[in-house]
C-alpha cells in the first residue's frame, strides 16, 4: 500500500477523488433519459404479456383493442416483417409465435397515440391459450419423467442423439437421462475421494438462492425510428450499444450501416440492460413507419426483462486439522428459465476459484423451466456460489475451532494459482483484502460485539474475473485548445469522468479543458459493452493510448515550430514549452487553430487508441458484517458493514467507493430481502417494489470502504476491474453473521425472519 501511495503522489489527476462530470445535470433533473424523449408522430407501445407460464396460442382477437380511439395497430408475431426467428434464442423470438414459454412473455404489441390508451387497449386484446403443464422447479425438471419446459428441447435432444447413436439407444437415454438440460460443464482436479479421506472435518449441504431482479430504478425504455432512407435509429437505455446494433441488424436482416444505436443515459443496469426488445421495437417502427416508444412499467419489467437465475448448489467440502482445504465437490444447478443464458461457467469457475484446493470436482447444469429468461446481475452467478462456499468454509472453521479469518488467509488464491479450468491467476489481491478487513475496527471489535446477546459478525469474500472485449477511443484537439475524447462505451459508473482524468493526466491539462463524450454507434469508435466491470480497464487503456497519440502529434508539430527535439518539450496546462525556456513556447489554442482554420498548415490532431486486452485483472472483495437478530421474531438488522476491495489503482477513489458501497448494499438486499416469488402455476407473485423488497435507507447503515491496491499487470495505471465484486460476499457474510449471533445456519437466501425461526427450531413445517 505504501508503494502505491507514492505512485499516487506522482499524478495530478488520476488517483484523486473527482465529482462526476455529469452530476450537476443529474441533481437538477436536466439529464435526458430514454423516457424523456419525444419524436414527432411517435406511437406508444404496450406489450400483451401472457398470463400463463406454458401454453399454446390458439388465437388472438384484437378487435376490441383496435376499436379504442387512439389505437393505431395491434401487431402479433404473424404481422412482423420478415426476420430471423430462432425458437431457442431469446433474442430471436420477438413475440411468442405458437408456444408461450413463461408467464409474462410478450405475445402481441398494441400501439396507440398515448401510453394510457395503449395500456388500456392492451388489456382488451383477447388471446386464447391451451395451457400446458409448466415446469418450474429445476430439480423436478431434471427428473427423467419430467414434462418438457419447451417443445424445442425435445427436438434438440432427438436431433443431437439421432446423429450419434441408434434410435433404441436414444429412447433409453431419453427415459433415463436428465431432462430439460440446456448445457452442462465439468471441472476436475486431483482426487476428491482421497481429499475427503485426508480431511479432519467434512461439511455438506444444499444452498439455494432465488431469482432476483436487477431493479434498476429506471425500467427499460426503447425508442425506434425508421426513416425514409431506410435507416433504423434506436435509442435505448442499454449498457451495450454496439451489441444492440449487432443483434438488431442480424435479427432484422439489416446491414450494420443501416442501424444506429444511441444509448440514452442508463438509469441503472447492473447487467440487466444489455439487450431486450430493441429488435421488436425496431420492427414495429419499420412496420408502422412511425417512431415507436416502449417504456416498460415496473411490473412489465419484472415480468419480461432478464433477471438473475435461481440457483441450487450441492456442496461438500473437506478441511484438514490445520485448516487447509483438502477437497471440494460441487453440483451447481442454474435455472435458466425459458431460454439458455444462465451464468453456468462463471459460477462453476468461481466456486473452485477463491481458494486453493488440490482436489475438486465441479459439475454444472443449466436447466430449462417455464420462467422468464435470465440474464446477468452484477457478477452473474458469483453470489449464488459464494453463498454456499463461504457458508461451508465458516462451518468447517467452526467445526475445527479455527478462526474464520485465518482459515481464509491460509487458503486464499494468489498469483499463479489455477482456476478450476487450469488457467492461472494473474496478480490478485484476495489476501490483501482479507488483511485489510482484519485490521478494520469492526473486525477488531468482534469479540466485544459477540459478548452482546444476539449480535454477531460474519466474514465472506467474493471475486470476479472480469470481461475482456476490444475497445477504442479518439482524443482530438479543438480550435480553442480544449480537448475532446470520444468513446463508444455507455457511462454508467462514472467512467467518462475517469477518462477525463486520464486524458488530463496524459496531456497535463486542467480537468475542465477535457470533455469526454459517449457517441452513438455511427460516430463513436467501437467499445465492448459496459458490463463485466471492464470499461475503465479496457476503454481506459484505449483512452490513454489515444491521449498519448494526440500528445505525440502535438509534440511533433511543436518540435518543428520550436526547433527543439520532442524530449526537451513539456506540456503544462495547455502550453507546450521547451524545458527551462519560458520564451520558447506555444499554446494548445495556437495548435488548435493551425490544425483547423482555413489555410491551416497542420492536419487536425486526432489521437487514436485501440486495444484488445487478453489478460484479465480479477478483483476480490472481503466484507465483514455486524448484525443483530431478534430471536423472537427472526428479524435481522445490519448494524455495520465494512468492505475491502482490491481495485489495482483507484483512478477516481470517490467513484470506486460508490461502487463498493452500491455493490455491498445489493449484496445486503440479496441476503435479507430479494426474491422473485412464483406460485405453482409459474405466476410471479411480487412484480412490484412493495413486495420485491429493495433495501431502503432504514435497512442500510453507512458502509465503510477500504480501497486495496494491488496493481494489475495490464490496466491503466495498474487499475483493475471494480464494479462487480462487491455484490458477491453479501449473502454469505450475512448468513455467517446470523450464525455467529444466534447459532442458526440458514441455507437459503434471502434470510427472512421465517427461515431464521425455522433454523432456530421455533417454527416447523
Amino acid at each position: 500500500m505504501a508503494e502505491v501511495g507514492d505512485v499516487r503522489k506522482a499524478f495530478r489527476h488520476v488517483g484523486k477523488p473527482v465529482p462526476r462530470v455529469d452530476a450537476p445535470a443529474k441533481v437538477t433533473g436536466r439529464t435526458i433519459y430514454g423516457d424523456d424523449l419525444k419524436l414527432p408522430r411517435m406511437l406508444h407501445v404496450k406489450l400483451v404479456h401472457a398470463p400463463v407460464a406454458h401454453a399454446r396460442i390458439k388465437g388472438i382477437d384484437a378487435s376490441k383493442a383496435l376499436a379504442v380511439p387512439g389505437v393505431e395497430a395491434v401487431i402479433t408475431a404473424q404481422d412482423l416483417p420478415p426476420h430471423r426467428y430462432d425458437p431457442d434464442n431469446r433474442t430471436r423470438v420477438l413475440l411468442a409465435r405458437d408456444e408461450v414459454l413463461f408467464y409474462g412473455q410478450p405475445v402481441a404489441a398494441v400501439l396507440a397515440r398515448d401510453p394510457y390508451t395503449s395500456a388500456y387497449a392492451r388489456d382488451l386484446v383477447e388471446v386464447q391459450y391451451e395451457e400446458l403443464p409448466p415446469v418450474l422447479d429445476p430439480l423436478e425438471a431434471l427428473r427423467p419423467d419430467a414434462p418438457l419446459a419447451r417443445g424445442s428441447v425435445q427436438a434438440l435432444e432427438e436431433g443431437e442423439v439421432g446423429g450419434h447413436i441408434t434410435v433404441e439407444g436414444a429412447e433409453a437415454r431419453k427415459e433415463e437421462g436428465p431432462r430439460n438440460v440446456a448445457s452442462t460443464i465439468t471441472f476436475k482436479r486431483g482426487d476428491v475421494e482421497q481429499g475427503f479421506k485426508e480431511a479432519a472435518a467434512v461439511v455438506e449441504g444444499t444452498w439455494r438462492t432465488p431469482m432476483a431482479h436487477q431493479s434498476y430504478i429506471e425500467p427499460h425504455v426503447i425508442v425506434a425510428d425508421y426513416d425514409s432512407t431506410g435507416r433504423l435509429s434506436i435509442w435505448s437505455s442499454t449498457q451495450a450499444p454496439f451489441h444492440v446494433r449487432n443483434e438488431v441488424a442480424k435479427t432484422l436482416g439489416l446491414p450494420e450501416t443501416r442501424v444506429r444505436v444511441i444509448s440514452t443515459e442508463v438509469g441503472g443496469g447492473f447487467g440487466g440492460k444489455i439487450y431486450l426488445y430493441e429488435a421488436l421495437v425496431g420492427a414495429l417502427a419499420m412496420t408502422l413507419q412511425r417512431p415507436v416508444k416502449l417504456t416498460m412499467s415496473r411490473k412489465e419489467d419484472m415480468l419480461a426483462a432478464t433477471p438473475a437465475p435461481n440457483c441450487i448448489v450441492q456442496l461438500k467440502m473437506g478441511m484438514k486439522a490445520d485448516g487447509t482445504l483438502s477437497a471440494l465437490k460441487a453440483r451447481v444447478i442454474f435455472d435458466t428459465g425459458a431460454f439458455p443464458g444462465a451464468p453456468l461457467l462463471p459460477g462453476c469457475l468461481l466456486i473452485g476459484g477463491f481458494y486453493k484446493c488440490p482436489n475438486l470436482e465441479i459439475e454444472g447444469l443449466e436447466v430449462f423451466t417455464n420462467k422468464v429468461s435470465v440474464g446477468a446481475l452484477r457478477a452473474p452467478g458469483a453470489h449464488n456460489v459464494a453463498f454456499a462456499l463461504e457458508s461451508a468454509l465458516d462451518m468447517l472453521a467452526r467445526r475445527l475451532e479455527l478462526d474464520p479469518m485465518e482459515v481464509r488467509l491460509k487458503n486464499a488464491v494468489e498469483k499463479g494459482d489455477p482456476l478450476p479450468s487450469g488457467q492461472p491467476y494473474p496478480a490478485i489481491g484476495l489476501k490483501e483484502c482479507l488483511e485489510a478487513v482484519a485490521k478494520s475496527q469492526l473486525w477488531q471489535r468482534r469479540h466485544e460485539i459477540r459478548a452482546h446477546p444476539n449480535r454477531g459478525v460474519g466474514l465472506a469474500v467474493g471475486g470476479w474475473l472480469g470481461g475482456l472485449q476490444p475497445a477504442s477511443a479518439t482524443v482530438t484537439l479543438n480550435a480553442d485548445g480544449t480537448v475532446n475524447a470520444l468513446v463508444g462505451a455507455a457511462d454508467i459508473t462514472g467512467t467518462n469522468t475517469a477518462f477525463a482524468q486520464i486524458v488530463a493526466e496524459v496531456l497535463n491539462l486542467p480537468l475542465e479543458m477535457v470533455r469526454v463524450t459517449t457517441g452513438d454507434t455511427d460516430s463513436a469508435p467501437y467499445a465492448g459493452m459496459s458490463a463485466g466491470s471492464k470499461v475503465t480497464f479496457t476503454v481506459g487503456r484505449a483512452v490513454k493510448l489515444a491521449a498519448e497519440d494526440a500528445k505525440e502529434q502535438i509534440l511533433r508539430i511543436a518540435s518543428q515550430r520550436l526547433e527543439a527535439p520532442p524530449e526537451e518539450l513539456e506540456l503544462v496546462d495547455g502550453v507546450v514549452r521547451v524545458r527551462g525556456r519560458e520564451d520558447k513556447q506555444l499554446t494548445f489554442r495556437e495548435l488548435g487553430r493551425w490544425s483547423t482554420a482555413f489555410g491551416g498548415r497542420y492536419p487536425p490532431i486526432v489521437g487514436r487508441g485501440a486495444v484488445a486486452p487478453r489478460l484479465q485483472a480479477p478483483s476480490f472483495s472481503a466484507q465483514a458484517v455486524e448484525v443483530e437478530v431478534d430471536p423472537n421474531t427472526g428479524q435481522v438488522q445490519v448494524l455495520s458493514w465494512v468492505v475491502a476491495q482490491d481495485v489495482g489503482f483507484a483512478i477516481n477513489p470517490m467513484a470506486v467507493e460508490g461502487q463498493m458501497q452500491g455493490g455491498s448494499t445489493q449484496g445486503l438486499g440479496l441476503a435479507l430481502f430479494e426474491e422473485m416469488a412464483y406460485d405453482e402455476q409459474g405466476r410471479l407473485l411480487n412484480p412490484n417494489l412493495l413486495d420485491y423488497r429493495l433495501p431502503t435507507t432504514a435497512d442500510v447503515p453507512p458502509i465503510e470502504t477500504i480501497i486495496v491496491e494491488v496493481p494489475s499487470e495490464d490496466g491503466p495505471y495498474g487499475a483493475r476491474i471494480v464494479g462487480e465484486p462487491s455484490i458477491v460476499p453479501g449473502p454469505a457474510a450475512v448468513a455467517n453473521a446470523v450464525a455467529d449471533a444466534i447459532g442458526a445456519r440458514v441455507f437459503q437466501a434471502p434470510l427472512t425472519p421465517e427461515k431464521i425461526l425455522h433454523a432456530l427450531g421455533k417454527i416447523k413445517d
Binding site: Y116, A119, Y120, D123, K299, N632, T633, Q635, Q637, L672, F673, A677, L685, N686, N688, L690, D691, R693, P695, T696, A698, D699, T752, P753, E754, L757, K762, I763, K764, D765
Partner: protein
Amino acid sequence: MRPFSYFIPASLQEALAIFQREGEGGRPIAGGTDLVVQLKEGGHKFPYPRYLVSVRRLPELRRLEWVEGEGLRLGAAVTMAEIEASPIVRERYLALAEGARVVGSRQTANMATVGGNLCNAAPSADTAPPLLVLGAKARILGPRGERLLPLEEFFLGPGRTVLEHGEVLVEVLLPPPLPRSASAYRRHTPRQCMDIAVVGVAAFLALDEAGEKIAEARIALGAVAPTPIRAHRAEALLVGRPASPEVLGEAALMAREEASPISDVRGSAQFRRYLVGVMTEAVLEEALSRARGR
C-alpha cells in the same frame, strides 16, 4: 387504466347526491394510495369503478378534534401524517399514532387517510388493530341516513366492508381513555419500514385503582384473518387478573389460537401464528408498562 369519471364535490351532501345520481359502480376516493394503485395494477379481477367521488377535502371528513366528554372525532380524510403529528393522539391514543406512523413512506403518510386505510379493508391495515382496541365506532352517512357501528362490525373480508352503494365513512369516534390505561401497536415486516404488516398486534390495557389487576383489556390482530380481528378469548383471560408476565403470556398463547392466518407471499400461516404469540406478549407488556406509568 380504464376510463372512469371523477367528481370533486364541495360538500358531503353533494357527494352523497352524486352517488344517488350516478348509481352503482362508484367509489369514494381520498388519498388514493391504495385505490390508484389498484386502478393501475388491478387488471380485470379488480371490480373496476365507473366513477370516483373525491372526499379528501370535505370538511366533515377533515376533523381531528377532542370533544370533552365524548372523546376523539377523527375524520376519515385525516392523513397518517396528521394523525402521527397530533399531540392528542400521541398522548391519549398512542397505538393509533404508532399504527399511522408505519404506513408506507413519508410520502405515503402525507397522502394516505385513515378512512382509506379502513375502507380498503386489507387485513393488514395498520390503523385497524389500534382503532379496534381503542373502542372505535365508525360513523357512516348514506342515502338512508346515518349509521354508527362498532368498528368490529365494519369489515366483512379482504377488500370488503359493510359500506353499501352511496355510503361514505365520515369519521371514527374514539371514547376518552380510561384512567390507568394505555395502548400499543407493533407490526412485523421484513424491512425496517416501507412494508406491509406480516402480522400486526394492538393491545389496550386498563388497570384497576390499585394498579395491580387488569380492569379492561382489548387485543386486536392484523393480517392473520380475512379481516382485522379482536382476540376476545385472550382478552377474557386478562380481565380481573393480576397484571403479571404469566397472565400476559397465557393471553398471548390464546391470541395465537384465535388467529386464522393464511400462507401468502409475505409469510406462511405457521410463521404468522407463531408471530401472533410472541408479538402479543410483547405488545401487552408494552401497554402494561405504559399503563403503569400513568
